[in-house]
Amino acid sequence: MNPDQCFFGYSTFSPVNKMEDDNRVFNPYTFIKNIPSQSLLSKPCVREIPLKTRSTPEATLVLDLEETLVYSSLSMIAKASYTFDIHFQDCEYKVYLILRPYVKEFLNRMSKHFEIFVYTSAKKEYAEKILEILDSEKKSFRHRLYREDCFCVLGHYVKDLGVLERDLAKTVVLGTAPHTFPYHVMNMIPIKSWTGDKEDKELQKLVPYLEKLSEAADFRHVLKRRTDHLHRLLSED
């Protein structure tokens, strides 16, 4: 029985269709496959990002924030290392924040090989509070991109590496959800979503791999092997 019937029941003989198609579950692969061509998207008001300087590493690492580097929640996280308040629709909410194991070392190591971007679909004021904690000295992330730098496709915020104006052959993205970079799946290393496992070693494991990758001529060729299964999924019907 449709759960709606508890509160909202369908009249038995009414023309309302009970088996509505809007019960479909979001499928990230279908989403990527059917994404409208990039040229058809209206661009967000693109921000000018300073070019690399001579001392900036040639390679670029784009990091997702939530569940990649940290995990934050409005629901209580026991023994959360950090908390902060956020204002939303005229209410204050307490946010609990925990950092993924090894994240600070990861950022330290990576900043020697990559120019690091953080690119999140979170609201700027929310992400800034997290970054204040994660990168209080503003050493790790050279650039910070937020919701306002995302596009919206069918209600989902997606990111476009084009905004960065960096060489795509030398750009790698680390994030949990490939559908948020639908145009650059080739540049992506999907990482397991992290929501608090203290034994997690994903970031640590990636360090040697990324260090090696930063030397490659075209990251996408190297990454292809890693993301093969993803491409197979995408080519399935």
């Binding site: 029985m1 759960p3 709606d4 019937q5 508890c6 509160f7 909202f8 029941g9 369908y10 009249s11 038995t12 003989f13 009414s14 023309p15 309302v16 269709n17 509505e20 198609d21 809007d22 579950v25 979001f26 499928n27 990230p28 989403f31 059917n34 994404i35 409208p36 061509s37 058809l40 209206s42 661009k43 967000p44 008001c45 939530e66 929640s73 409005l74 629901s75 956020i86 204002h87 939303f88 629709q89 005229d90 209410c91 204050e92 909410y93 999140t120 679909s121 979170a122 609201k123 929310y126 919701r147 596009f151 919206c152 496709v153 069918l154 209600g155 989902h156 915020y157 948020t180 979503s193």
Partner: protein, 424 residues
């Protein structure tokens, strides 16, 4: 990408300006992604009520699993088993009768409340895509923040959050509700909080039902009537003044979002669809009372363009505007209503009330044309043979001023509208 004619339109407009042809093409492409959703406007169809509804509802009572779901979390947990026991007497509070509108945001139903037998409109919003969640919360905030009723603003009866077969009544800012916190979290993060492939949740808004359809249908299906026009002008002005007084900028005023109730015999307008509205609460000012002093919606700058093209003020196309954008939209609507100026919407193929500027073979929204050429003179009235009074003509000119500061605010508008409608 947003209401009826779609989330599509709203979103593409919101993200930034877009070139006309390219924008249209994009909308079509997006439609493909959505696939199965047919897009229609709210309150579009006029299907006569079927007889014998009562008997059908009886049948359904026996079918329903859960009973009263207006319970706190703790009681619900305790009585999860008991619910099955009482199933025989359980009845849904609202019986959905027919679908009246649909878009990617969700579905609107006409329904009947079991207790009172009253007709209600039930809007079911799917809350999985982050932006849908934001729009739903924005609408809920706006409607919930209106403590007092206004005859010309659609009334929210209640809001219910449903997930995995459980439903609970929701209140704005309810920090005790885990589900509500998840929605806020989704809004803040811009990501789906639940993992794939979890079942999405739904927000249901129960609102008063407006059997008279929307302003397009109402006006265009009747002979012009100066008395109705005059009454509608006053009602619309009063609604917008009320909203602005309560620090709410609607941001998407258009005939589609203006519904008509005829319960009292005379047509009463109801401003609806607050998905894009903005509550301009003073930052940090948590007390509702104190806010009015600090916030002047006419000076409260909002960013991100939104609203449908034809009713959008020039500054909205640029993405920075205040409550004065609502005044501009109202100017377009009233002007179109008085002269019955319409266009055919490219997507829905419906005839809509709205004024425009002709450029060669194309029609261009007034706001867009004014943005390109701020010195452009609007020909009000448009028709040569018009009975429009000078007072109304001047008022419309002022409402449609390029510079938002030259437009009257909602309170000045109320006074002037009274004057011009009395004189006419």
């Amino acid at each position: 990408m947003d209401t009826g004619d779609g989330r599509g339109r709203r979103r593409s407009v919101r993200t930034c300006r877009r070139a006309g042809a390219r924008g249209a093409k994009m909308k079509r492409e997006v439609g493909k992604v959505l696939g199965t959703l047919s897009v229609e406007n709210t309150e579009d169809k006029q299907v006569p009520m079927e007889e014998g509804d009562d008997e059908e509802e009886e049948e359904e009572e026996a079918n329903c699993l859960y009973t009263n779901l207006f319970r706190s979390d703790t009681t619900r947990r305790k009585t999860a088993g008991a619910a099955a026991a009482t199933a025989a007497t359980a009845a849904p509070r609202y019986s959905l009768l027919r679908e009246v509108g649909r878009g990617s945001y969700g579905v609107v139903y006409e329904a009947v409340a079991r207790g009172s037998g009253a007709r209600v409109a039930v809007k079911k919003l799917r809350c999985d895509a982050p932006e849908n969640v934001e729009l739903a919360l924005a609408e809920f905030w706006a409607l919930a923040s209106l403590e007092k009723r206004h005859e010309n603003v659609v009334q929210l009866e209640e809001c219910v959050l449903q997930r995995n077969g459980l439903a609970q009544k929701m209140s704005h800012g309810d920090k005790r509700s885990k589900q509500y916190l998840r929605l806020v979290e989704t809004s803040l993060k811009g990501e789906r909080v639940l993992g794939y492939p979890e079942e999405p949740c739904y927000l249901w808004f129960v609102m008063e039902f407006c059997e008279g359809g929307d302003l397009n249908q109402f006006i265009l299906s009747r002979q012009p009537d100066p008395r109705t026009n005059k009454s509608f002008m006053l009602q619309l002005t009063s609604a917008v003044a009320f909203l602005h007084k309560n620090n709410i900028v609607h941001r998407d005023l258009k005939p589609d979002n203006i519904l008509i109730s005829e319960k009292s015999g005379v047509p009463v307008l109801k401003v609806a669809d607050f998905g894009l509205s903005k509550v301009c609460a003073g930052l940090g000012g948590l007390g509702k009372e104190g806010d009015d002093k600090n916030v002047n919606v006419n000076k409260f700058w909002l960013s991100s363009a939104c609203g449908s093209d034809f009713y959008m003020a020039p500054e909205v196309w640029e993405g920075h505007y205040t409550a004065k954008a609502d005044i501009f939209a109202l100017g377009i609507i009233i002007w179109a209503m008085l002269e019955r100026i319409t266009f055919i919407d490219a997507e829905s193929k419906r005839e809509l009330l709205g004024t425009y500027v002709r450029q060669g073979t194309e029609i261009v929204p007034v706001g867009e044309a004014l943005l390109e050429n701020p010195k452009m003179i609007l020909h009000i009235p448009q028709r040569r043979r018009s009975s429009m009074s000078d007072g109304i003509r001047q008022l419309l000119q002022d409402m449609l001023a390029v510079n938002p500061q030259d437009r009257p605010d909602a309170f000045e508008l109320e006074i002037r509208m009274d004057q011009v409608t009395c004189a006419a």
